[in-house]
């Protein structure tokens, strides 16, 4: 196993009043060590559910319907999808080898515990070190994320910190055990733009020293362009396109990706008076759709799109799209190879 994470045909369902919602509907994801992969998509596309499945955080009314989540753990390759939700094995990995940063630091931090105690917690839980060593490393971690006077902040409560500082503290907590995979779920969405810029700069700086991989979940195409090496676009529980970041922005292949990129207004004031839109809205997650889920909104939809579901296939080297418009190209390439 050369990838750090290798997800195969993952399916996650939720039981709702309206029936079964296929939140993640058969996706493959691989992340190489040290890579930063951004998962983008709009609300309900399944990006956050994917991250929660990796962390073993899918709880009723949701369940993992099928698929494998192979992770190169220190103990050897492990299929996280097979581990019992609160068992010893997942607890050993979660919070130490795989950690997570959430969107709302105020809800992710415990309001009645001091910042320092919260950062020491994963260390004391996962590593055989003394309390004083843990404190030392927690303070070093606070300093590494740019918190001034970390020794003093160690003894403060989350409400004493500003939003940006809380997000830094959460990053410090996520990195203190040196994880091999860091999942960042909309880590800057709740922050103001100048504070977001500080946190993104920090994450970029940390990436130079941090040897682990980052899975960056966001809806913001600007943030993706600044942070990621590779991008995966999700729509209605499926991956519709995956490429290196430059290829995706320069030559988006899937009509959904093209539509998304076009509907962002230009801050330079370029572009038409009217914004390009993707007509209609995302079908409800409980709705069963035959063929490509994007076909009802797609300006290029063909009869085949309403019959069959396109697979995610390579169109160019390292650039995959799940779209019949590109399948002829994909097939030719497969024959040549």
């Amino acid at each position: 196993m050369k990838d750090l994470l290798d997800i195969r045909d993952l399916r996650v369902n939720f039981m709702t009043e309206a029936g079964i919602a296929r939140a993640v509907d058969g996706i493959d994801v691989s992340i190489a060590p040290g890579q930063t992969l951004a998962i983008v998509g709009e609300s309900g596309c399944g990006k956050s559910v994917t991250s929660r499945a990796i962390m073993g955080l899918i709880q009723p009314p949701g369940w993992i319907e099928g698929g494998e989540i192979w992770f190169a753990a220190r103990q050897g390759p492990t299929d996280l999808a097979q581990l019992p939700p609160n068992g010893r094995q997942i607890n050993a990995i979660r919070g130490s080898e795989i950690t997570m940063i959430f969107q709302e630091p105020m809800t992710a931090l415990n309001p009645v515990l001091k910042i320092g105690a919260q950062i020491m917690e994963p260390l004391l839980l996962h590593e055989k070190i003394s309390k004083s060593e843990a404190k030392e490393r927690a303070i070093a971690s606070l300093a590494a994320v740019g918190i001034s006077s970390p020794g003093q902040r160690f003894d403060e409560y989350p409400h004493n910190l500003s939003g940006g500082m809380r997000q830094r503290a959460m990053i410090a907590m996520a990195l203190v055990c040196n994880p091999s995979l860091l999942i960042a779920d909309e880590p800057t969405t709740a922050l103001d733009v100048t504070i977001q810029a500080q946190v993104l700069d920090l994450m970029k700086d940390l990436r130079r020293d941090f040897s682990g991989a980052i899975m960056f979940i966001t809806h913001d195409l600007g943030v993706v362009a600044t942070m990621a090496d590779h991008v995966m676009v999700m729509y209605r529980g499926k991956v519709v396109e995956r490429a290196a970041v430059r290829d995706l922005y320069r030559h988006p292949l899937h009509p959904y990706t093209q539509g998304l990129l076009r509907s962002v207004p230009s801050i330079a004031g370029r572009g038409a008076k009217r914004l390009a839109t993707i007509e209609g809205s995302v079908p409800r997650p409980t709705e069963r759709i035959r063929g490509c889920a994007f076909a009802p909104r797609c300006p290029h939809a063909m009869p085949v799109c309403k019959q069959d579901t396109p697979a995610l296939a390579p169109v160019q080297q390292d650039h995959r799209a799940a779209c019949f418009l590109h399948h002829a190209v994909a097939e030719e390439q497969a024959h040549a190879a």
Binding site: E42, S43, S162, G163, G164, M165, D192, V193, T194, I195, Q196, A197, Q198, L200, D201, H219, D220, L221, G222, V223, V224, A225, T226, V245, R246, Y249, G259, L260, L261, S263, V264, P265, S266, I267, A268, G269, R270, G271, K273, R274, L275, A276, T277, I278, E279, S281, V282
Partner: protein, 342 residues
């Protein structure tokens, strides 16, 4: 007041008292601290700035959804004083006059989930302003509601459904239809697309622009997304700690900012282009506590260009180019970076 001006705000202040202890009343949070704003008929002017800068409080104070502490809000009203235009000071109107004024001034809210009553159907939600004002008969009201729903891109067959049956984008269309029910001239749009996904956001931005062209609306657009602001506005006002620090045509403010805060704000926006290489102005620290703003220029603790003068004297908003004003002591000396085509 110039004939093309619809609304003119002078010296608007809103101070919220804070309690620092059980028996001590503390200092006031100066959420809006002396805002002057002139809005021309038919234009879109945007208020931008970070959380707590006072942009929403300004918008709501103008509508008197929040009572302003001080200031004058002159509005060219048609509803008050018969059919001819009358200049009224919104800040001093009686509640019965305010009710009449609501026909001309409306608001669109950010969150399409909390701003619609879940127990009312769409026809009742959109028709409620008409019912309260008592301007139409029941049958006329029904026709008007269907017309409004069609104007915002929904069908008349949606009238009997309830908010939970709609997506976020559709709910925002319902909120827009309600705001338009009384054919207002002036609309405060408070982060109307912030809660929407990007593809839906584009649909709603286009709708707002189409309605403006059709109905001659004037928008005060409150937003933190600078790309949307650049797209939709004729003019932009940048707020920091309750004050306007820069105002001008959106082209001028975005391409040639004259206040260091505007420069930093623009440089912080992540551009959806992996090859966009920009020098980012790193702003250190956070926005200061608005109950204890720093002396001198309120931005000086975070400003990399600050001098001794900035730490002592409050800069006034002054001309900084054609159709552009900024409150900075160093306008003439500094050349700040804007957003350029790249």
């Amino acid at each position: 007041m110039q004939p093309d001006v619809l609304l003119q705000v002078t010296g608007l202040r809103k101070h919220f008292p804070t309690r620092s202890g059980l028996f001590h009343t503390g200092s006031a949070v100066k959420a809006v601290d002396g805002v002057d704003l002139t809005i021309k008929a038919g234009e879109t002017i945007s208020l931008v700035g970070e959380s707590g800068c006072g942009k929403s409080t300004t918008g709501r104070s103008i509508l008197r959804l929040i009572e302003p502490s001080e200031g004058e809000i002159l509005f060219r009203s048609r509803a008050i004083g018969g059919s001819s235009e009358t200049l009224v000071n919104v800040a001093t109107l009686s509640s019965s006059q305010m009710k009449l004024l609501r026909r001309e001034m409306q608001i669109i809210f950010q969150d399409p989930y909390s701003s619609l009553d879940p127990r009312m159907n769409v026809a009742d939600i959109v028709g409620e302003p008409l019912r309260i004002q008592g301007v139409l008969t029941r049958a006329e009201r029904r026709d008007r509601v269907i017309h409004l729903l069609e104007a915002v891109g929904l069908g008349g067959d949606h009238a009997k459904r309830f908010p939970h049956e709609f997506s976020g984008g559709q709910r925002q269309r319902i909120g827009i239809a309600r705001a338009l029910a009384l054919t207002p001239r002036f609309i405060v749009a408070d982060e109307p697309v912030s809660a929407l996904d990007v593809s839906i956001q584009a649909q709603v931005v286009n709708l707002l622009q189409d309605l403006q062209a059709e109905m001659g609306l004037t928008y005060l657009f409150i937003a933190h997304d600078l790309s949307v602001v650049r797209h939709i506005s004729n003019r932009v006002a940048v707020m920091y700690l309750g004050r306007i620090v820069e105002i001008g045509s959106s082209k001028a403010v975005f391409s040639r900012p004259q206040h260091p805060y505007t420069e930093a704000l623009l440089s912080a926006v992540p551009i959806p282009d992996p090859d966009s290489a920009r020098a980012r102005i790193r702003l250190h620290g956070d926005v200061p506590n608005p109950s204890a703003p720093p002396p001198g220029c309120p931005f000086h603790p975070r400003c990399s260009y600050a001098t001794a003068q900035c730490r002592e004297q409050v800069p006034a908003l002054r001309d900084a180019g054609p159709d552009q004003q900024a409150s900075c002591h160093r306008i003439e000396e500094l050349t700040l970076a804007g957003i350029n085509d790249h």
